[in-house]
C-alpha cells in the first residue's frame, strides 16, 4: 500500500500594518518571514489560525491567487 503525500499549501507573507521592510512579519521559533516571502505553516498549525492570518491580511493564499489567474 502506498501513501500519497499531499503537497503542503503555500502562502505569501503580506504586510497589513505597514511594518518596515527589515522587520519580520511572522516569527516561529528561529524562523522569520518578511513581506513577500513564501510561508508554509507548521505541520501542526490549526486551520483556524491560518484562516485568521489570511483574514487579517498577514497571509495571502498563493495557490488561490494562482487559480484566479
Amino acid at each position: 500500500m502506498t501513501t500519497r503525500r499531499t503537497k503542503p499549501k503555500t502562502y505569501s507573507v503580506a504586510n497589513p500594518h505597514g511594518i518596515p521592510k527589515d522587520i519580520p512579519i511572522l516569527q516561529f521559533g528561529d524562523h522569520e518571514w518578511f513581506e513577500g516571502d513564501d510561508y508554509i505553516p507548521p505541520a501542526d498549525a490549526k486551520a483556524e489560525s491560518i484562516a485568521k492570518k489570511v483574514a487579517k491580511g498577514f497571509l495571502i493564499d498563493a495557490d488561490a491567487e494562482k487559480a484566479d489567474g
Partner: protein, 249 residues
C-alpha cells in the same frame, strides 16, 4: 488581584526614567465635558458626553544628574511629551499613558529646605489611557530577543495602542515590536502588529505611541530586532473596547 499600595512604582517622561525623582502623582484624570441637552418635554436632565480629555500632574524632587528630572522637564518643549506612569514593576501591572503638552515646571522651596517641582501634562488629541505593562517595568534587552509573552485570556476585536519609552541604548539601533499569537507561538506563528520607530544610540531618551486597528490575538509579546547592545525600555499597551469614543486605526 488584591488591594495594592502605591509603593515601588515607575514614571517615564518621553524616555526619561524619573522614577527616582518623582515623589507624588497628584492627579491622573480623564475628565469629560458634558453637554446639557435637556428638552422641554422631559422632567429630568438629559446629557451627552463632550470631548474626552486627560491630565497627569506630578511633583518631583530637584535632581540635576544626567537623565534625571531637571534634564527631562526643564526644557518645556512645545512638542508633545509622552508620559507613562507604571503602577508597579511587573508585566500586567496597570499603567497610565498620556500624550501631553507640558504646561509648567514650577519650583517650590519649602521652609523645611526641600526643593520640589510641579509639572502638569494635559492631553493632546488622545485621552488618558489606562494600559497594562507588557514589560516588567523598565527592562533591558542586551541584544535582539523576545520577552516572555503575556496571556490576556482572550482575543479582542477593537485594536490596540502601544507605548514605548526608550531610556538608554549602549550601542546600535534597536527596533521594538509587539507581536501577537493565538496559542503563544505553539503552532500559530507570532505576527508583528506594531513596530515602533528604530532608535539609534544617541537618539534616546525618546518615546512613541502607536496604534493598530482590528482584532488582536490572546497572547502578546515584545520582540527587539536590529543590531544593538543593552537597550533599556518600557512598553505598555491598551486593548481597544467597543465603547471607545474613537476606534484605534
Amino acid at each position: 488581584m488584591a488591594k495594592q499600595s502605591g509603593l515601588a512604582q515607575q514614571f517615564f517622561v518621553h524616555g526619561y526614567d524619573i522614577s527616582g525623582d518623582v515623589g507624588a502623582i497628584n492627579n491622573a484624570s480623564s475628565p469629560r465635558a458634558v453637554l446639557d441637552v435637556t428638552a422641554l418635554n422631559v422632567s429630568a436632565r438629559e446629557r451627552l458626553l463632550g470631548p474626552s480629555d486627560g491630565m497627569l500632574d506630578f511633583n518631583s524632587w530637584f535632581d540635576t544628574a544626567a537623565g534625571a528630572m531637571h534634564a527631562a522637564l526643564s526644557g518645556l518643549p512645545t512638542t508633545d511629551v509622552i508620559l507613562l506612569w507604571a503602577l508597579g514593576g511587573a508585566v500586567g501591572d496597570a499603567a497610565a499613558g498620556l500624550v501631553a503638552k507640558q504646561m509648567n515646571y514650577d519650583g517650590t522651596r519649602g521652609a523645611d529646605g526641600s526643593l520640589a517641582f510641579n509639572v502638569n501634562g494635559l492631553a493632546d488629541g488622545v485621552p488618558l489611557e489606562w494600559c497594562e505593562m507588557l514589560s516588567a517595568g523598565k527592562i533591558t534587552h542586551s541584544s535582539a530577543s523576545s520577552s516572555s509573552s503575556k496571556n490576556d485570556g482572550a482575543a479582542s476585536s477593537d485594536g490596540m495602542a502601544g507605548y514605548l519609552q526608550m531610556v538608554d541604548i549602549a550601542s546600535g539601533t534597536p527596533t521594538v515590536i509587539i507581536q501577537e499569537s493565538d496559542d503563544n507561538g505553539s503552532s500559530d506563528a507570532w505576527a508583528t502588529i506594531i513596530a515602533f520607530t528604530a532608535i539609534a544610540d544617541g537618539a534616546e531618551p525618546t518615546a512613541e505611541r502607536k496604534t493598530v486597528a482590528g482584532a488582536v490575538e490572546q497572547y502578546l509579546r515584545i520582540t527587539t530586532t536590529g543590531t544593538f547592545t543593552d537597550a533599556d525600555f518600557a512598553v505598555a499597551y491598551r486593548r481597544g473596547e467597543s465603547v471607545d469614543d474613537e476606534a484605534y486605526t
